[in-house]
């Protein structure tokens, strides 16, 4: 006596995340493009010499064991002194190595597609492939003052792709957009200009700076090896710190730039 259980309604967490479909290999992409479909091959092939069905490859294959081939013809335009057997062996080794290399490349591509490496190294390592180099070249082209607009392209590089910002370096809000927001912004600006208290609290900023320097000194004393990181850390922390210094956090684009610039300039002079 068997009862059929209804569908489970209580959701329980999975053991492992659901499997991700692996990205197609280079050959699979090409085949899809060309419309090549897989031909179903029979597992057994008729061997005329042995007069029986033998497998296509593997143990006792049709056509005999290639390693025991006792005859190797010298091809038309080859060197008569060359050892044909050695050539066949070498070519087999090369084919196997190339297959293995392609398999590893496909694996690496699939793995990279899954993890999406964020920052490509910008120094040439010699182990970068075409896509990475293309990315790096794009970064290099775009790191000019005009964002790569007037940069001559490399000989084999493709034409200019559509840029995300539409070619503009600064983006402005529309002229007659949110009138209430514009009004509040202008009033806030006037208020800050007219107020007696400065936007930047000098004492707080100085205290923060002192504390930071003390912490860095302590870290530097802890490990001499970490001194380099401290210097780099201090250099990286600068823009972060200046944004914290500006007193009121303003969401509009113009304000933090001037405030940050002003405070940064002020601090630097001190």
């Amino acid at each position: 006596l068997v009862a059929q259980l209804p569908e489970p309604t209580f959701r329980l967490p999975r053991e492992k995340p659901p499997p991700k479909p692996r990205p197609p290999t280079r050959w699979e992409q090409f085949a899809r493009l060309k419309g090549i479909r897989r031909k179903k091959k029979t597992s057994l092939v008729w061997d005329e010499q042995a007069k029986e069905w033998r497998r296509r490859w593997g143990y006792r294959r049709a056509g005999g064991d290639p390693s025991r081939a006792w005859l190797a013809e010298v091809p038309a335009g080859a060197d008569p002194e060359e050892d044909q057997f050695a050539r066949l062996r070498r070519e087999k080794r090369e084919r196997v190595a190339r297959n293995e290399l392609n398999r590893l490349r496909n694996l690496a591509r699939a793995h990279r597609a899954g993890s999406a490496v964020p920052a490509a190294p910008l120094h040439p390592t010699g182990h970068q492939d075409r896509d990475e180099l293309r990315r790096v070249a794009r970064v290099a082209r775009v790191s000019t003052a005009s964002l790569g607009r007037f940069q001559p392209r490399l000989p084999k590089e493709s034409a200019e792709p559509p840029s995300r910002s539409g070619g503009k370096k600064r983006r402005f809000e529309p002229l007659l957009g949110n009138l209430a927001a514009e009004r509040s912004r202008q009033l806030e600006l006037l208020r800050d200009m007219g107020s007696k208290k400065p936007v930047l609290d000098i004492t707080r900023a100085v205290n923060k700076q002192l504390r930071q320097e003390e912490a860095e000194a302590a870290a530097a004393n802890k490990g001499k090896k970490q001194s380099k990181r401290g210097k780099r850390g201090r250099r990286q922390q600068r823009p972060g710190r200046s944004s914290k210094k500006s007193g009121a956090r303003r969401p509009k684009p113009q304000q933090p730039k001037t405030a940050g610039g002003g405070s940064g300039g002020g601090r630097r002079k001190k």
Binding site: L5, P13, E15, K16, H111
Partner: protein, 304 residues
């Protein structure tokens, strides 16, 4: 990632790896029962009994492992990866937390939820002298007490306990094989776990009379610390792949009451030529048929 570029050389190794990789329909979750550095007799007995209940989907580790799950989870994750277990039960004992059991589960070999329970009273399997049900029986789980619905921690505990004791998921079940009941009650701050064996006695009608006989381990638990997963991680672990949704069959729809409706698409019918019932008198005579067919050879009418 050695497992990526080293292909398995034997079929057995390939099967082993295929069993462990993420799949659409997953395997039954395995549990690992671990003893801490200072496990005492009670806790060891609890682990042995739970192992007996969860066989063959559990691994009982014989040796003591000196770890603290709440502080450092790397050792647990390493064990989980090596033995492919996603549930664990860790038993320990010290003065501050006597008879401690940490029940938890993993997602992708990382700790998802962990709840620490203290065992106040424990009656072992061998202390209750009556017949037990065979190992590997799928238990029925009953949760009593509104704490299991109201309190967030208790809700997670309920989900954890279901996960732990569920066993394999089956579409059909043999009614005579429903022998084991695990009953969890949440009352005044404690959780009582009792196990019963179901006896089907003869009754007048077709449905047998059910009697519950206490068998199996009974525990009185108290919730101590918890380490629950964040909401988004929990939601991520609940996510089911699209392939698991039942494929929608076209032209079939279901009613609220359970009635199944189907649609048939017909060609246009000439209703004037429609014939509903076979009536011998209306059967076409050979002469009429030949007139319709336009000179085709008339069939010989069958003699009754």
């Amino acid at each position: 990632l050695i497992y990526c570029y080293r292909k398995p050389k034997t079929k057995r190794a390939k099967r082993f790896l295929e069993k462990r990789e993420p799949k659409l329909n997953e395997n039954t979750k395995n549990a690992m029962l671990i003893k801490g550095g200072n496990a005492n007799l009670t806790v060891t007995e609890v682990l042995k009994d739970i192992y007996a209940v969860k066989k063959p989907f559990a691994v009982l580790y014989k040796r003591k492992n000196i770890t603290r799950p709440f502080e450092d989870q790397t050792s647990l994750e390493f064990f989980s990866k090596k033995s492919d277990c996603s549930l664990f039960l860790f038993g320990s004992h010290n003065k501050k937390r006597p008879n401690n059991l940490i029940i938890g589960r993993m997602f992708d070999y990382h700790v998802l939820d962990m709840i620490e329970l203290g065992v106040e009273k424990f009656v072992a399997l061998k202390d209750i002298k009556n017949s037990k049900c065979p190992e590997g029986t799928k238990p029925m789980l009953i949760f009593a007490g509104d704490m299991f619905d109201v309190n967030e921690e208790y809700r997670r505990l309920k989900s954890l306990l279901i996960d732990f004791f569920r066993g394999p998921t089956v579409p059909n079940i043999r009614l005579a094989g429903l022998e084991y009941v695990l009953h969890f009650t949440a009352a005044d701050g404690k959780i009582y776990m009792r196990s019963y064996k179901v006896l089907l006695k003869k009754s007048g009608c077709k449905i047998p009379r059910i009697e519950l006989e206490e068998m199996g381990p009974s525990l009185d638990l108290v919730m101590r610390r918890t380490h629950l997963a964040s909401d988004d991680l929990y939601k991520l672990s609940l996510k089911q792949p699209k392939g698991l949704k039942p494929k929608k069959k076209k032209n079939i729809s279901h009613d609220v009451f359970g009635t199944t409706y189907g649609r048939i698409h017909m060609q246009k019918q000439d209703l004037s030529k429609l014939q509903t019932r076979k009536m011998k008198g209306l059967k076409k005579r050979p002469a009429e048929k030949s007139a319709q067919d336009g000179g085709a050879a008339p069939k010989k009418s069958k003699s009754a």
